[in-house]
Symmetry: C2
Subunit: 238 residues, 2 copies
DNA sequence: CGAAGCGTTGACGCGGATCAAAGGCAGTGG
DNA sequence: CCACTGCCTTTGATCCGCGTCAACGCTTCG
């Protein structure tokens, strides 16, 4: 998932296209290796909508009549507890679909983490089409399975990892391309990151400083991060 | 999900059958309210297999050629980190399906949390059938969506909740029937609970003691728990 | 009766939360 | 172009929930 814009890609894209994913199967091939549909495998017309940063896309409890795909920018899905605690479940970058539900209503809320373009598809329409369109059915099924795999990976972080490990994993997930020494521009605030990783903004900030002190990364700006020691970061994630 | 045997059900089952779920839709109706297929909606022959407690059902990385449904007992899915930390993702009780994957290999391991009977279905077979069997396709899709919703609920616990809240939520999820004052018999060990909630066994034990001290529950045995104040427990989960 | 597991309880320490205050940095107006 | 304002981020000091280490009780089984 590209939840950050990679500054200075060029060669990297070639690498990633050439790489063959070991778990390549019928299902995974319909989507990208990262489970995103960046090539437009969803051949159904949808409505493009633009959202400014922090604008609500839908709210927990709303009628779940649309399924969305990110075209540009980053979307966060989240939920609030009564006392104000917030869990950010996921960040969705270009090609990533969200809003797939089993019940009548959305179980989570979604908002723009940065300015973004989103395509919305009528849920009933898609579901009706999927009955006779094997490819579409497979795409929806794969999308949900990918989300599930991501959610599980995230649970592992939340349940077992220390702050520095959580942040290393988060940074690695921001690239998901094997770029060494590449810069990444985070689309989301410290607050979003903290609520995603089950930390506070202070801890996130301190842990970034720690990663800098240990020469894993460089901070060229609050949201501009340079991965200096990718192998070391990967080691933290092991 | 029935991840514990309700001691003294009888009347409770009638209650749950009579209750109408608010979010009832096409997808949710094919499975139970809890996302389980206890009524045998999966009308495909499978192979029954028996597993003793702690026996491995499959291991992360194995060829994912089977999909499973719990017939009796409880199964846990989990993953180990190199240093021995373990995350237990979910407990699967009767009717619950697991082992649905997107890639070639299982992404998690599964083992029997208690002695159990499990039905295995050939994955390729099911997937081929699903192309022409709308109902089966819907069942698989719903199953994954339910797992995703559960995983998200679990992330919320892991990321934002305190130990006592986590345990209250866990206990409530063990019944998922609106029984007041009902006893539950936990199928899993303190170790399993701890690794599920991202705590240590000592903290789980102390927190149980705390719940007793605050008169939310009674411990009639290490695994025999009586919910004394269900409203209070629900309040903890809010 | 002894041994091995599991669960409980106690003492203590640490990682991350909380509280507080001081920088950046962008947008606005003079 | 610079000062002002408000927000986001960083940094410091302190606190506390939960982890760690250790010992002990209970149950099961040979």
């Amino acid at each position: 998932m590209m939840i950050a814009t990679a500054a200075g890609t060029g060669a990297a894209k070639v690498d990633s296209a050439a790489a063959v994913h070991p778990a390549e199967t019928l299902e995974s091939r319909i989507l990208g290796v990262d489970g995103n549909d960046r090539e437009g495998g969803l051949r159904v017309p949808g409505r493009v909508r633009h959202f400014l940063r922090d604008r609500q896309i839908y709210t927990e409890g709303d009628d779940a009549d649309c399924i969305f795909k990110v075209e540009m920018g980053v979307v966060r899905t989240y939920k609030f507890l009564r006392d104000g605690r917030r869990q950010v479940y996921a960040f969705h970058g270009p090609g990533s679909m969200f809003g797939l539900e089993i019940g009548k209503a959305y179980g989570l809320s979604a908002a723009a983490a940065s300015d973004c373009d989103v395509i919305s598809y009528g849920r009933r329409h898609l579901e009706r089409l999927a009955v006779h369109d094997e490819r579409l059915a497979l795409l929806l099924y794969s999308t949900v399975l990918c989300s599930l795999a991501r959610a599980q990976q995230h649970s592992l972080s939340l349940g077992q990892r220390s702050a520095i490990e959580k942040l290393a994993i988060f940074l690695m997930s921001c690239t998901e391309l094997p770029i060494v020494g590449a810069d990444i521009l985070l689309a989301m605030s410290r607050n979003d990151i903290a609520d995603h990783l089950g930390l506070t903004i202070e801890t996130v900030s301190r842990t970034f400083a720690d990663l800098v002190a240990r020469a894993f990364i460089e901070l060229k700006g609050a949201r501009h991060i340079c991965l200096v020691d990718v192998a070391g970061l990967r080691e933290l994630c092991a």
